[in-house]
Every structure is written in structure tokens, then in C-alpha cells.
């Protein structure tokens, strides 16, 4: 009905508003969802543990390529000893949380949206309501909690794998001294400003990505095209939201 271009902005705003309201509803359902704690555990398994392989593989490669590039670039300034440091800082502050969130949106976010969307399309959510089970507490909140818990853990695993990858390239392959690699890293990387801030970022990304995924699934048009469209939107909006939020958080955290 409102296909005129002037109303596009209004539609977008309405979506954001609806998403915000949905967040409040989900947060309100979190205490009730603790009754279905098993379901939360199951979701952490699906969302987190099942993403481990892709996260670990990507982490290894990202670390390796960072090591390769930085060693090469820093050697030009005679500072190849700092390779490990720069790799670690880049990972902990930016790449770890951001890349993990993007992978997470593609791997777990889409499956959350498709799953909930199909539940909507086949009346399973309505069936739960009729059995006096609140789908917000049984379906949405456990996935939300799972995302918030799993993404930081995944980001840590990603970072650890990336450090190992960088170490393998710089030390084992390019011949940088192992002691130099580690000591420079430990001298310049700070637990609070680097590691912990990165963890906070990925907590926020986890919340945003799963919120968008759950919201899109919950509001799917009950058709096959509706589910397909919702899944695509999850990836697009999660990625944009992650990168935008990353900028904001970087500006305020450091």
C-alpha cells in the first residue's frame, strides 16, 4: 500500500522501531525462558558449537595471512619483530570480533531466521501459544541468550587460532625468532584495553546479530519467498549493523 519512495524511509524507521520493541519483549521474556533452560543449552550447541569448525578454520587462515602481510610490510621498516604485536592488536581490537560476527551472521543467523520463519509459516508458533507456551520465552529468548553467550566465546577461539596461524607463518615459516614474536606481543598487548574490550564488542555483536536474526524470523511473511527474503535480510542487516556498531564502539571504548 505504501510503495511510494517517500514512504521507504518511514518503512525503514518503522522496522527499526519494531525491532527495538521486539528486543524489549525478548528481554522481558528472558526470566521466563530460564524455565526452558535446556532449550537455551540446545541453542548454544546449535549456534555456538556447530559454528566452531568454520570459525576455527577461518581464524587460522586470517591469522596466517595477517602474519604474512605484516611480516612483509614491517620488514620494509626493519620492524618485522613487531609482526606478532600488530597481528594480535588487529585481531583483538577489530578483526576477531568483526569477522566472527560476520561469519556468525552467515552461519548461525541465517539458520535462526529460516528456522523461526518456517515455524511461523507452519503455524508452529501459534500452536505453542495455544499450548500456553510463550514463543518469545521458548523460541526467541533462548536463541538470543545463546547468541550473546556464544559469539564472544567463538571470537576468543577465532583469535587464539589466528595467533597460532600467525605464529606458524612468522616463526615456523618466515624464520622470525619465536622469543621476539612472543615478547614483543606480551610487551604491548594489554588485557583490558585490547582483549577485554574486544570481548565486549563481540558480546554486543552477538546481541545485535541474534536479535536481527530472530526478529526477521519472527516477522517472516508465511510464504517460501517470505522465508528466503527474511534470510537474506538477516545477513545484510546483521553485517551493516555489526560494522556500524563497531565504529561507534571503537570511538567510545578507546
Amino acid at each position: 500500500m505504501s510503495a511510494r519512495p517517500t514512504s521507504r524511509l518511514g518503512d525503514a524507521l518503522a522496522q527499526v522501531g519494531a525491532c527495538g520493541l521486539f528486543l524489549l519483549q525478548v528481554l522481558g521474556a528472558v526470566p521466563k525462558s530460564l524455565r526452558h533452560f535446556r532449550e537455551t543449552i540446545r541453542q548454544i550447541w546449535f549456534v555456538g558449537a556447530m559454528s566452531l569448525v568454520i570459525i576455527m578454520t577461518c581464524g587460522l587462515f586470517v591469522g596466517a595471512v595477517l602474519g604474512l602481510q605484516l611480516y612483509d610490510v614491517l620488514s620494509r621498516f626493519g620492524a618485522s619483530a613487531m609482526s606478532g604485536t600488530v597481528v594480535a592488536l588487529a585481531l583483538y581490537r577489530e578483526l576477531g570480533p568483526v569477522v566472527t560476527a560476520l561469519l556468525f551472521a552467515g552461519r548461525a543467523g541465517t539458520s535462526i531466521t529460516a528456522e523461526i520463519g518456517l515455524m511461523r509459516a507452519t503455524d508452529q508458533l501459534a500452536a505453542m501459544e495455544m499450548m500456553a507456551v510463550d514463543p518469545l520465552a521458548y523460541v526467541a529468548a533462548p536463541r538470543f541468550i545463546a547468541g550473546v553467550v556464544a559469539l564472544p566465546l567463538l571470537a576468543c577461539v577465532f583469535n587464539a587460532m589466528a595467533i597460532l596461524g600467525a605464529h606458524a607463518v612468522c616463526v615456523s615459516w618466515l624464520g622470525l625468532d619465536g622469543g621476539t614474536f612472543w615478547s614483543n606481543m606480551t610487551a604491548s598487548v594489554d588485557v583490558w584495553t585490547d582483549v577485554v574490550n574486544g570481548v565486549w564488542k563481540s558480546v554486543a555483536f552477538g546481541a545485535v546479530c541474534t536479535l536481527i536474526a530472530t526478529f526477521n524470523g519472527y516477522t517472516t511473511a508465511p510464504t517460501s519467498e517470505g522465508v528466503a527474503y527474511a534470510t537474506t535480510r538477516t545477513v545484510v542487516f546483521s553485517s551493516i549493523a555489526t560494522l556500524a556498531l563497531d565504529f561507534v564502539m571503537t570511538a567510545f571504548l578507546t
Binding site: 535446556r38 556464544a150 576468543c156 612472543w182 606480551t186 604491548s188 598487548v189
Partner: protein, 173 residues
């Protein structure tokens, strides 16, 4: 039922793995790795310039880490930097005429406090202050000196400091 159990075990393992990764990152790849929780005693040192010295930078003798920088403050009376060093208890045999200097590891590396042992029979006690200190070498100063000495100008070196310093901030702005 057994299926449900395996989810729970798997999820538990996943969470453990995540926290293990976090613990590894936090303790093995950051300054925490250099942070001995052991007993330490405090020494003080004043520098006219600490350069880029940071909190928790290492304190070394002969390249071996013996402690870390605990605090950096401005002494309001002397307008000098007063640095507090936490030295591990097991290195309590430091002669009290040892000197402290701020060095840079490598050309662009981090700065640390290097201690040059003296020959006095008396040892530093908790709260003592280094008498002899040498400030951080400022790259700008070095370059300035080099430019002045390298030029045909007959000016003495001491005025070189004065004439070289002003351009340095300008170049940075």
C-alpha cells in the same frame, strides 16, 4: 534422552573451550604474561623526560626482566617525571648507587627501564630512590643534534639543543 545428554555435554565442552581460549589470550599473549604476581618492593626514579614509557613496561638488568613500571607521575615541585618501579622481591641485591635509564627496544619498539648496577656495598631498600637517572632518548633530539653537528655551522653543541627543538613540534603539527 541420550541425545539430550550429548547436547549438554557438547555445549559444556564448547563453553570450556571458549573460556580456555580467552584465558590463553589473556595470560599468554598480553602483558599479564610479564606480570609476576610474586612479592615486590618499590623503588623510585626521577627523569626529566620519560618519553613513551608506559605503565607496566618492563624493568630490566642486562636484558633480564626484574620488575615493571607501577606508576608515572609529575613531581609538582621539581617538574620532573617521578616513576615508581615494582621490583621482584627475589632481586633485592641491587647496589644503591645503581643507575636507571629509559631505553627503547629496537628502533621503533616499546620503551623500558634499564638498570645499570653500581658498585656500592649497600643495597637498595623498599622506597629508595635512584640517584643517577638518564632520561629517554628523544628521536627528535637525536635528529636535531645530528642535523646541527652535520651542518657547517660553527655553533657549539649545547645551543644545538635549543635551536633544534623548536622545529620538531612544528613538523608534527
Amino acid at each position: 534422552m541420550t541425545q539430550r545428554r550429548s547436547y549438554q555435554v557438547g555445549t559444556g565442552l564448547f563453553i570450556l573451550l571458549g573460556f580456555a581460549a580467552l584465558a590463553y589470550l589473556a595470560t599468554q599473549t598480553t602483558s599479564v604474561a610479564n606480570f609476576r604476581q610474586g612479592e615486590s618492593y618499590t623503588l623510585k626514579a626521577s627523569f626529566t623526560n620519560v618519553g613513551q614509557l608506559k605503565l607496566r613496561a618492563p624493568v630490566k638488568i642486562a636484558g633480564v626482566r626484574i620488575g615493571s613500571v607501577e606508576a608515572i607521575d609529575l613531581d609538582p615541585a621539581k617538574l620532573e617525571a617521578s616513576v615508581r618501579l615494582a621490583i621482584d622481591k627475589k632481586f633485592d641485591q641491587l647496589p644503591d648507587d645503581s643507575s636507571a635509564a629509559i631505553f627503547t627496544s629496537g628502533l621503533l619498539g616499546d620503551q623500558y627501564v634499564g638498570v645499570q648496577p653500581g658498585g656500592s656495598p649497600d643495597m637498595f631498600k623498599d622506597g629508595d630512590e635512584f640517584v643517577l637517572t638518564q632520561s629517554s632518548l628523544q628521536l627528535e633530539d637525536l635528529i636535531g643534534k645530528f642535523l646541527v653537528n652535520g651542518s657547517p655551522s660553527p655553533k657549539p653543541a649545547e645551543s644545538g639543543d635549543g635551536s633544534a627543538k623548536p622545529p620538531a613540534p612544528d613538523q608534527h603539527q
